[in-house]
């Protein structure tokens, strides 16, 4: 279940501390100009090490295009992008097998994979593999042009100027959550495939694959629960389908209506914190205190926008291609 998409389809692989993470893009149209330089901007935005509050672990993050590209263009054959993992420190993860870190997948991965999961650095559950998602998103953004996907941080820990709370959290070895908003401009009307592949369905499916996302809402979202129909209904004001308000977030009946697509996601505070935490020792079968030193993101929200953009672009590329079939 490491693939997603109906026609434009990505398959992701790799672990945090294995040799490579990567992604294969299947169904990519031929003839798209593509070089390794195209990936720099978004990969750079995602990367830790530059922003205060993001992890100082810094990877080279150089994409290697090993198939599906020829003479500077996509060929139509599956396109695989590889990243090397370097700068990994794997020594002390085995102890989390018996003493799982709260908030991490240590416990669930062990349950699911019967003790065989690569536990180093979170393995396949690590946020590390979103580097591959971002790379695939670069291609998707080219496909969906002139649609423009823009994700930005709305707030961190409930504030729009978060410098101070962030510094405090870093000092205290703690972490913060936040909210990211994504807006897509120039969306054509008619994308989305009811009943089950509504735009909200496929976008949320993809977005909840990203580690740390715990909520999503479209347009007015949860506020819609507090509105009346006469207030929430967006009235059409012109022949191209533009509406006066956009409480629907650009999606009616699961299909885009030509207005900007708008959604917001809730990002939980990073699970890795520097403070001692209570947990259970499944070997000794008793409660215990765990301390996890190391390099952490105090706020993973900071690195989230390009990941959300990539997820969105991948979904829209698939929906766009499907919409051309009829």
């Amino acid at each position: 279940m490491n693939s997603f998409g109906s026609f434009f389809r990505v398959s992701i692989f790799g672990e945090s501390h294995g040799p490579n993470v990567g992604i294969t893009v299947d169904g990519c149209p031929p003839g798209i100009p593509l070089t390794e330089a195209d990936f720099e901007a978004d990969l750079g935005r995602r990367q830790g090490g530059n922003v205060r509050g993001a992890t100082p672990r810094k990877e080279a993050d150089t994409p290697r295009l090993v198939s599906g590209v020829f003479d500077g263009h996509t060929t139509g054959a599956p396109l695989t992008i590889l990243f090397e993992n370097s700068n990994t420190i794997s020594s002390d993860y085995s102890r989390f097998l018996d003493v799982p870190r709260p908030g991490h997948a240590d416990f669930t991965a062990r349950k699911k994979f019967r003790g065989f999961a690569d536990y180093r650095g979170g393995g396949h559950f690590s946020g590390r593999i979103t580097v591959a998602l971002v790379a695939a998103g670069v291609i998707a953004k080219k496909i969906i042009a002139p649609m423009q996907v823009e994700a930005s941080i709305l707030e961190i820990a409930g504030t729009q100027d978060w410098t101070e709370v962030l510094e405090q959290a870093i000092r205290e070895g703690d972490s913060l959550g936040g909210i990211v908003e994504c807006v897509v401009h120039q969306v054509p009307a008619g994308l989305g495939e009811p009943f089950f592949n509504s735009v909200e369905s496929v976008l949320s499916h993809m977005v909840f694959s990203i580690p740390a996302i715990k909520g999503i809402e479209f347009g007015a979202g949860f506020d819609a629960a507090y509105m009346r129909g006469s207030e929430h209904n967006d009235c059409y004001v012109s022949a191209n389908g533009k509406t006066r308000t956009n409480h629907a977030g650009g999606i009616i009946g699961g299909i885009t209506n030509g207005n900007p697509l708008v959604f917001r996601v809730a990002v939980k505070p990073t699970s890795s914190i520097g403070r001692p935490q209570k947990t259970f020792d499944f070997g000794a079968r008793k409660q215990t205190i765990l301390e996890v030193p190391g390099r952490h993101d105090a706020c993973i929200t900071l690195r989230m926008p390009p990941v959300i953009e990539a997820a969105t672009a991948l979904v829209l590329a698939d929906l766009l291609m499907l919409s051309t079939v009829r």
Copy 2:
């Protein structure tokens, strides 16, 4: 794209005012006792006509099992359930082709299906076809036992006692939104298929197929954005994986951890209202006022719990069956 599920797979069909709506359940295990009486309870809960604020349009809603059942048990072959549509009044929907109702799929359906969509009563976009989803959910609930799925209304229009605001909305020809919470008990640890089929991913995918849902959050959800890691992380307290708090909503790394699965959805106010609304006349190419008399749900949230339960049970049945493969 009217199918959903990896192994336990439903395919839905039908329009509000066509001869039938129905659903085919593929991948259903053989040997499950099943009679038409098993459907009564959930179909009754979903049905309009009983509750103040739900539509007085009342269908017989008698399921007809036309395949996949023999001698009172499922056979393992695809199981199709049909419902007749009756009590339909189709006369005056054609005018919405040029003058789309705000909030409804009139405009987007026309864009997508180039004017050929069955527009009567919302056609394939109608909440009517959730009757088929609820029926399939009855089977799914049997498969996932002893897991228990319970959805309930948390609030309508921001209140937990909504009698008064509801009466007022009805009087004023308006509608209300609300929030439904779903809790699943007895969930085994280990369900969910990362990277792309996290439990949140597949649940949200299915849930956003239901008309009128505009937001979903798991566990602490959007509140997680305001919490610190030291507060949000759920600490393990016993050898079966139980955690002291359940901010994760029973899902870590996309996989169930054995704690109750908890999520909430935002339901928008019903789009059909009795009050005059501004909209655009795409024939005359000018703004206009639309009045839509008729039978409406003043608050679709009231009928939502069994639909959310069915959606949840269908997803869990698929994840449960997949989890037995390894």
Copy 3:
């Protein structure tokens, strides 16, 4: 696994002696003119009762379009076609549970579905449900026009004039196999989706779903094994890709090359015969002799051409729609 197709997707259901057999066509483009009369010709060709050597069991075979059609056109929503089963005699099938008929699925169905399969008339394994496939094929043929699919019987029991051998087999309560050839004219170049969805792959996948098919070959097929490359290679003779010979059957590298698509299938002799046969009594755990009186096809090949055509058209409709995506 009762669905097939990537975008144009059919889901089949029903048992030989249940209330209905049917099929849902998802991904059907809107706007295709469609009435129940369109189905008559192909359903008539498939039907038993008209041809000497085909079963005298004759169903009314009237398709009922219960969704996806409005005002005489497809709507783009899933299109479900139902057939009633009538003229069924179910009395004496239960004895095959312990004493399976050679060549029939009695034994394997019981193994797979743990005794819960509907065994009457072969249940879900019956050739009966190909009536639904033929109906869906009628729609597919409209989509792929001007492509033309024509299947015909090449030989029965090794002869091209089979009247005599057929009469003899009928007299002796025996059955005959045969070979059907299918040719598709006006195939555009470029259909097929390597690596795994070569034209041969998806056609053979679909065709082997039809009961009684045991072999398939494309173009020169098995004869290619006896040819040299210099003889087998089809040389191009004009700018539209036409080749002098067509040993490839119109498919190179899994992709159509614009020449006629040609394949042949081997149809085994009907498993139901009137003669006593040795089999095993799994209840008494000893070998025994089984006699199965009743209405049989002495040669199922006779009814096969419209079924093969439908299977082919369904596959080509899907490939054609996919080919428009890029």
Copy 4:
């Protein structure tokens, strides 16, 4: 469409002369012992350079496991295997853009991918990428044990001792076709998922993905067309479902019956030959003569058995895993 499988799923990528070919295996159970040495035997059997009549192009064919393996065992996460391409001579393939080689995908690839396909060495259409299929098959064989898959050459150019005809073909710069038979022992009854995923369906789907296969038949196959039912029907002789004959090839109603699974494939003569061939010059728009010097397989059948085995094992692994769900 470069993925195959329902639960145990492979995604293939790479071109003949690109940096890498590879395959990702998703849905692989955790805990299977796996080292790079496990691949040697089957990769060696597939490799050219050892057998007279197979290409002297010899690759190192060293698999690199870049994900999904940890501490010598599969982890349950997607497992990616990479191969380097070396020993490639790409200089003179561009001329086939205008002057396609008969029998090769030059023309169809250009049609499909609008001139952007990597044409060097056949690109993504090259038999080269079957190295990845064979590697994935090694893992599949471990999963399906104690089932045993054995493919062998039945005949080449119609003879069972082909030394002489092969030498002659080599001398004359020509190529030969052949027939490969595959037998699987110890197959459990109950594999296969009707209606559309019959064992014949999924096996043929996978097998026709392999370049050069033009026919497949199960059990008696095309000979069944010449048999009577009384002769073809396999009678059960013991309580484990064993049949006296095996004309069905171990598959009844699309489901395995516990007898050996038997099928044969027709392999066309290698398209690359040393002799001058007529073709069309699509640039000059006239017929022409093409000569293609270089290293060719005079008979690709010679290298086919391990590829057919891998294809078969991959399909059976998926069917086996699916059969455990119910």
